[in-house]
């Protein structure tokens, strides 16, 4: 007997949100093993990078929700990871985003996070969401601010060290994406 699980495929204006796949490995590892990952626990070893990618998939199986790989519709390129995340060691359910080299500055994190947040509130029925942000990560704080989130409290994470927890507006007031839908 084989057991299968599925992650929904979502579409936004410029992105497809889909389950991470083995073909994502090189791009994912290149990011997490580089200095660019310094605010999200990196640079990591190859071993940890592999486990981080496999964890993204295992998270869907174990928790029934997770983060999506972002595919740029125009190019088909894997440009980042965004979604609803709760690894053990995080204080609350979180909305997380990691955008890879060349994919920042285009509003992709905001576009995908709006869809992931709408999915959490309107499909999963969640009532609140947080984002864990390194105090020095001004780019990520700017995304959180654009999403309407605000600093809530400090937290010390086992691997990341001291971080800030930002809280998103709840389901009643959170901005929804201009366009997003589930794909068959």
């Amino acid at each position: 007997m084989t057991v299968t699980f599925s992650a929904p495929r979502l579409e936004t204006e410029r992105l497809i949100l889909r389950a991470p796949e083995i073909g994502d490995q090189d791009v994912h590892a290149a990011f997490f093993m580089s200095e660019r990952a310094k605010f999200v626990g990196g640079p990591t070893t190859a071993e940890r990078a592999w486990r981080l990618l496999a964890l993204e998939v295992g998270h869907w199986v174990l928790r029934g929700f997770g983060r999506w790989a972002l595919e740029e519709k125009a190019t088909g390129k894997f440009v980042g990871i965004v979604g609803n995340y709760h690894p053990v060691g995080f204080p609350e359910d979180e909305l997380g985003w990691d955008l890879f080299d060349g994919a920042t500055g285009k509003g992709y994190a905001t576009e995908a996070a709006l869809a992931a947040r709408a999915y959490a509130y309107d499909t999963l029925g969640w009532t609140t969401l947080t984002s864990m942000i390194d105090p020095a990560n001004t780019a990520s704080a700017a995304v959180a601010t654009r999403l309407g989130a605000a600093y809530d409290y400090d937290f010390t994470h086992e691997h990341f060290g001291p971080v800030q927890i930002w809280r998103h507006p709840g389901p009643d007031t959170a901005q929804r994406p201009t366009y997003y839908r589930s794909l068959p």
């Binding site: 084989t2 057991v3 299968t4 990078a49 592999w50 990618l53 998939v57 295992g58 174990l62 086992e158």
Partner: protein, 168 residues
């Protein structure tokens, strides 16, 4: 996404991991019991390891199973066919929680997992074992695995025991 297929042996059920497997596993891995398995591990790393071995089924087509006593439903350990990127080859690994050793359960679980791997495209597997882990060495030998002194290994101190399909 794919999860582990359910396998049955005389006394055991090998099944895909569920969220409730985490707490008991983390409790054991936080102690010196885990010294030959990369431990002791904190919660963050334990989640990374477990969730990755679950995700491995979708990414690579193999990964870890939780091992239950069929009669009672009690979870007694884990067996896995894994290849994290730093392993030169696909490994079969096993662990039993404290108190369940000495009944042949690890042998039974590893035999089933290995048979599954040999039926699903693998011709050879290795087990990386810490030299002082006499219990695991004894099990590898009981399984018919042979010490391979020439094999690449993730840690220079590891012993590499090789399982070949034709010999099993």
């Amino acid at each position: 996404m794919t999860a582990a297929p359910t396998l049955h042996t005389d006394r055991l059920t090998l099944r895909h991991h569920r969220l409730e497997d985490f707490e008991p596993m983390a409790t054991h891995f936080a102690t010196d019991w885990a010294q030959y398995m990369g431990g002791p591990l904190g919660q963050e790393k334990m989640w990374l390891w477990l969730a990755a071995e679950v995700g491995s089924w979708s990414l690579l087509g193999h990964g870890s199973w939780a091992v239950d006593l069929t009669a009672t439903g009690e979870t007694i350990g884990q067996v896995g066919i894994n290849k994290p990127v730093h392993f030169p080859e696909v490994e079969i690994g096993w662990l039993l929680y404290p108190g369940f050793e000495g009944h042949g359960y690890a042998f039974e679980a590893a035999t089933a997992a290995r048979a599954w791997a040999f039926e699903n495209g693998h011709d050879t597997l290795v087990s990386y074992i810490d030299p002082p882990n006499a219990r695991s060495i004894a099990l590898a030998e009981r399984l018919g695995a042979v010490l391979d002194k020439d094999a690449d290994k993730p840690d220079p101190d590891d012993l590499v025991y090789r399982h070949n399909r034709r010999a099993a």
